[in-house]
C-alpha cells in the first residue's frame, strides 16, 4: 500500500492505495466523487476526464499513486453549488447531451480546451474533443455548447448563472 495526499475539488484527501489502483477508481470508491464515471475503461472514450494540475487527463489511465501531491478537479468541483460553471450552463442551454453519460468528460475536456483556446473555431472544438466519445452521437449540440460556453466566458463571469 502507498500513502497518497491529493487535493480534489479544493479539499485535501489522504489515503492508502494499492499501487495498481486507477485514479478514477480511487475518486469514485475511496472518496465518493462519483460524478466522474468509468466509460470504456480502455482510454478511448474520455468519460472519466478530470483535470490533473489544471490539464485534462483520462483518469482511467493514471494510477492513483501518480496523483500523489497533485490537484484534481472533477465535474463536481466546477461549481460551488449556487452557480453553475458557464460550460455547464452552455451544455444545458444548447442541450449538449442525450443520455448524459459522456457529459462529465465532455464538460471537463471543454473546460481544458477553453483554458488554452478561449475562442475556438468549430474545427478546433471538434479536434479538441476528439478524445471524448458520445455514443448517442449527439456531437452537433455538443459543439454548439462549447461555442456558446466560449461566448459566455468571454462575456464575463456573471453570465454563467443558471
Amino acid at each position: 500500500m502507498a500513502h497518497i495526499t491529493v487535493t480534489v475539488d479544493g479539499t485535501s484527501y489522504k489515503g492508502e492505495v494499492e499501487p495498481r489502483k486507477l485514479l478514477v477508481h480511487w475518486l469514485r470508491e475511496d472518496i465518493g466523487r462519483v460524478g466522474t464515471v468509468v466509460g470504456c475503461d480502455t482510454s478511448n472514450c474520455g468519460a472519466c476526464t478530470v483535470l490533473l494540475n489544471g490539464r485534462s487527463v483520462k483518469s482511467c489511465s493514471v494510477l492513483a499513486v501518480q496523483a500523489d501531491g497533485c490537484e484534481v478537479t472533477t465535474i463536481q468541483g466546477l461549481s460551488d453549488g449556487s452557480e453553475w460553471h458557464p460550460v455547464q450552463t452552455a451544455f444545458k442551454e444548447c442541450h449538449g447531451l442525450q443520455c448524459g453519460y459522456c457529459t462529465p468528460g465532455m464538460v471537463m475536456a471543454t473546460v481544458d480546451l477553453l483554458s488554452e483556446n478561449p475562442t475556438p473555431s468549430e474545427q478546433e472544438i471538434r479536434e479538441g474533443l476528439e478524445g471524448n466519445l458520445c455514443r448517442c452521437t449527439g456531437y452537433h449540440n455538443i459543439v454548439k455548447s462549447v461555442s456558446y460556453a466560449a461566448d459566455l466566458m468571454s462575456a464575463g463571469p456573471t453570465k454563467g448563472a443558471k
Partner: protein
C-alpha cells in the same frame, strides 16, 4: 479492468532509476506518463513486478537548446513538446507528428520518450525521429551511450534500450527544411494505418535533399531511402509523384483489421507524395 498487483517506486534521479530497475529484476518496467503502458496493464497483457516511475526526474523533463541541436527530455509530455517554441522553430516535423498522437488528454500525460521507447510500429513519433536524424541518450549500469536513430529501432516494440537501461533524452539537429507529417486513419484519435514524416530541403524550386520516415510499414518505423534518392532534383508535382512510387520498396507492411498489406503499400505511395508536396511547397 484492473491491473495485476505490482510494486511502485517513484524515483527522482537517473541513478535511482537504474538502481530500482536492477533491484526489481527482469520483470521491472519503467513508467512515466503511462499512456501506452497502463492500457496494456489493464488488459493484463503485461504483469511487471515493479513499476519504476521516472516521470519526476528533472533531467528527463523539458526541451533545451544545445548548440546546433535541441535536446528533449524523454519524460517531456507530447503537449509540452508540440507547444515548445524550440521544437516549432528547429524540429517542426516533430511537433506536426506529435499533434496527431491520440487526443489532447492523452497528450497531456503521454511522453515523447515513452512513445519512442515503446516503439509501436503504428506510433507517430518514431518516423519523425528517424526523418530528423535524432540521436538517443541511454543510461544504464555501465554509464551512458548515444545511439543514432537508424540503430535505435530494432524490431516490433523493441529498441536499443536494454532491460536495465533508461532512455534519458533524444537530440535533434536543428532543421529548417520544409516539413509535413501525413497520417492516414479512419477515425478521430485512431492509430495511423500509414503515416509519412517528411523533411525536404528545397533550393530555387528544386529538391536538394529529403528525408522520409514511414509509420506502420514495417515492424519498426523505417526510412524510405529509395524515395529520398529519387527525389533529388525533383522540381514538379509529377517528379514527386514518380519518386513516391518507390515508397513501399523494401518495406514489410502487415495485414490487419484496418488494411491489407498491398493497400498499405498503395497508401504509402500516395501519402508520401502528399507529404513531400506539402513539405516542399512544390
Amino acid at each position: 479492468m484492473i491491473p495485476v498487483e505490482f510494486d511502485y517506486v517513484k524515483v527522482t534521479t537517473i541513478d535511482q532509476a537504474i538502481a530500482a530497475l536492477k533491484s526489481g529484476g527482469e520483470d521491472s518496467k519503467i513508467i512515466s506518463g503511462g499512456q501506452s503502458l497502463l492500457p496494456v496493464l489493464r488488459l493484463r497483457m503485461a504483469d511487471p513486478s515493479v513499476l519504476v516511475d521516472c516521470g519526476g526526474i528533472d533531467e528527463m523533463l523539458g526541451v533545451r537548446e544545445d548548440g546546433d541541436s535541441i535536446t528533449i527530455g524523454a519524460a517531456t509530455t507530447h503537449h509540452a513538446v508540440m507547444s515548445s517554441p524550440l521544437v516549432q522553430q528547429h524540429a517542426l516535423l516533430l511537433a506536426q507528428a506529435t499533434a496527431t498522437v491520440a487526443d489532447p488528454a492523452i497528450r497531456h500525460r503521454g511522453t515523447s520518450g515513452g512513445a519512442l521507447a515503446h516503439a509501436d510500429p503504428a506510433g507517430d513519433v518514431p518516423a519523425a525521429a528517424l526523418a530528423l536524424n535524432a540521436s538517443f541518450t541511454i543510461a544504464g549500469p555501465g554509464g551512458r551511450r548515444t545511439v543514432a536513430a537508424k540503430d535505435f529501432f530494432l524490431d516490433y516494440f523493441t529498441t536499443a534500450v536494454g532491460p536495465d537501461e533508461i532512455l534519458v533524452s533524444f537530440s535533434i539537429p536543428k532543421c529548417d527544411w520544409g516539413s509535413h507529417y501525413a497520417k492516414f486513419n479512419r477515425t478521430a484519435q485512431a492509430w495511423a494505418i500509414v503515416g509519412v514524416a517528411a523533411v525536404v530541403n528545397v533550393e530555387g524550386g528544386v529538391i536538394k535533399e529529403a528525408r522520409i520516415g514511414l509509420t506502420n510499414m514495417a515492424p519498426t518505423a523505417v526510412r524510405a531511402s529509395t524515395v529520398e534518392a529519387a527525389l533529388v532534383g525533383a522540381s514538379s508535382a509529377a517528379d514527386i509523384t514518380a519518386a513516391a512510387m518507390h515508397a513501399a520498396d523494401g518495406t514489410r507492411a502487415t495485414s490487419d483489421l484496418h488494411a491489407k498489406a498491398d493497400y498499405r503499400e498503395h497508401l504509402a505511395r500516395v501519402i508520401t507524395a502528399r507529404a513531400v508536396r506539402a513539405a516542399s511547397g512544390i
